[in-house]
Amino acid sequence: MAKLTLPDSERMYSGHAACPGCGPALAMRLLLKGLGPKTIVSIPACCWTVIATPYPTTALGVATFDNPIEATGASISGLRAAADALGLEGVQVVGFAGDGGTADIGLQSLSGMLERRTDAIYVMYDNEGYMNTGIQRSGATPRGAWTTTTPVGGSARGKPEAKKDIMGIVLAHRPVYAATVNPAFPEDFVRKVERAAERKGPRFFHVFAPCPPGWKFDSDQTIELGRLATDSGIFPLYEVDEGRYRVTRKGGALKPVAEYVRAQGRFRHFTESDIAALQAEVGARWEALLRAERETAAPEAVPVAAH
């Protein structure tokens, strides 16, 4: 038998209620591969509440806690305090929330958890909208994307506003570890989770989580789309460890974003100039990321302010 490139432990069970080809489902499976059995996962109202727990069943082989949509950060602070008060050793506390429950509704409790230095891992699986309730726009929906609340037709051209920069918000809190991961790169995903699991303090993951019905693509394209997102610079893979940036996938020149855009029905109305604008934005963000990596590469490379 060929050597497996990922741990063979499975703590996400089959029989769950995710759509065929669900990016968030694969994200949970990979996340739990990187964590031990003594894990508590706190899930707010989101797709994953429905996926995991049609009563009396559970799709998770670890302790699971359901919490209100705005409370993931607070709930993991409380779970950590409870585990410590009970003297439980080696418990990993994890919040697993969607982009709406993180970047919009749960932002205050995420900020509080990071500011309190809660020893926990917060995971935002980003399917770029309120998908569980039927594809409404969120702060994390990209500019121009069609959703049911940002329609396309007449003068309406999808979401007018830009995607909220959750990594920027989180990094401003100086977490001990933060990283972007993408299920299309499972080895990188699990390696980062294992690395985060060894650390103490607030840790954060931004997960690229394609949604076939919400983004309008065929369910077999989830991985292919993930690859395009990273290799075009739409969703670069990097980690920030104690403030030091490291880009974990550099494939030479970025692919044009057009291929990623054209693969999805939610961008069907994009014109050449829409794509050119996105290309410019993605290029600028990629350059900024490489600059951050250079500037934080080694302690002596950090420029000392002149007085």
């Binding site: 499975e10 995710a18 049609p54 009396p56 069943t57």
Partner: protein
């Protein structure tokens, strides 16, 4: 007292998430209302994920409808996806003398149903594709099926259906009206004396005893998601390099290995997303229609 028997018509729709079964029940109720009838429609509140079996209900009567329950003894059962006949007991509870209407190109005499149930078929998929409704892989068949339902039962008039399409369907009005017309003209019936194959028997849920208290503790492996599948992966191991790409990318953990390390699809759980076939480097996995897959 059974006042429901005389004038009320109860219709149950079976489809898959994304096919338009819920909208079909709503359109039917709206059309009946435009016809001057009392009507109601509502879906079964469950997991309406794409591909998952979905149930919706409609009642039509000349008198006010006071029932608010789901429909256990339908007079008419409408099936939008013929694959459901193999996995879901769609005719469960259907009244004697009732009608089963299925979207299929097959001979209506081949449709499984209890004795005493009339059977009809309409190739709504072909009609939907011909009018550009939905895509070729996921055609939206509901308006063509409703046209056939109107022809087969007379519960609602074709004109009212077309008016409902114009008022309540957001787009493609002309195409949907044409689909209603084509469905109306294309309904086929099984001869009354043609014997019907037996319908699938509902498999009792194999859940272990429920846990005490509010903690969900039964692994979801007790739930079989095979009924969601419209395409089945078939592994041709002669070209397989045992690279395990299929295994690592499966969102349903529905791929295991045999003793020699070749992938084995766990068909109780596979939802047929097709990721394994697309990601397989030597292309040894083929997605085939469920009806043509080896048992």
């Amino acid at each position: 007292m059974d006042r429901t028997e005389r004038t009320m018509i109860e219709i149950r729709f079976h489809g898959r998430g994304g096919q338009g079964a819920v909208v079909a029940s709503e359109l039917l109720a709206q059309a009946a209302f435009l016809d001057g009838k009392e009507s109601q429609s509502f879906p079964f509140f469950g997991v309406e994920r794409r591909g998952a079996p979905v149930t919706a209900f409609a009642r039509i009567d000349d008198r006010p409808i006071r029932l608010r329950t789901s429909i256990d003894a339908p007079g008419v059962v409408v099936v939008l996806d013929p694959g459901l006949l193999r996995t879901t007991p769609v005719t469960e509870g259907i009244r004697s003398g009732g009608l089963l209407l299925v979207n299929t190109a097959a001979d209506p005499a081949s449709l499984p149903a209890p004795a005493g149930v009339r059977r009809a078929a309409v190739d709504a998929t072909r009609i939907a594709v011909a009018h550009g409704l939905g895509s070729v892989t996921t055609p939206i068949v509901n308006t063509a099926v409703l046209g056939a339902l109107a022809a087969a039962t007379g519960v609602v008039g074709r004109t009212a259906l077309e008016a409902a399409v114009d008022r309540f369907v957001p787009a493609f009005h002309a195409e949907n009206r044409a689909a209603v017309d084509d469905g109306f003209a294309a309904v086929r019936f099984a001869p009354a004396d043609a014997p019907a194959p037996a319908p699938v028997v509902p498999v009792p849920a194999a859940l272990p005893p429920w846990p005490e208290g509010p903690v969900a503790s039964i692994p979801s492996r007790a739930l079989r998601t095979a009924a969601w599948r419209t395409l089945t992966p078939v592994v041709h191991t002669e070209r397989c390099t045992r690279c395990n790409f299929c295994w690592k990318f499966c969102p349903d953990d529905a791929i295991g290995f045999d003793a020699e390390g070749y992938p084995v699809i766990r068909l109780d759980y596979c939802k047929g997303c097709g990721i394994c076939a697309t990601e397989c480097p030597p292309k040894t996995i083929e997605m085939v229609a469920v009806a043509e897959a080896p048992a």
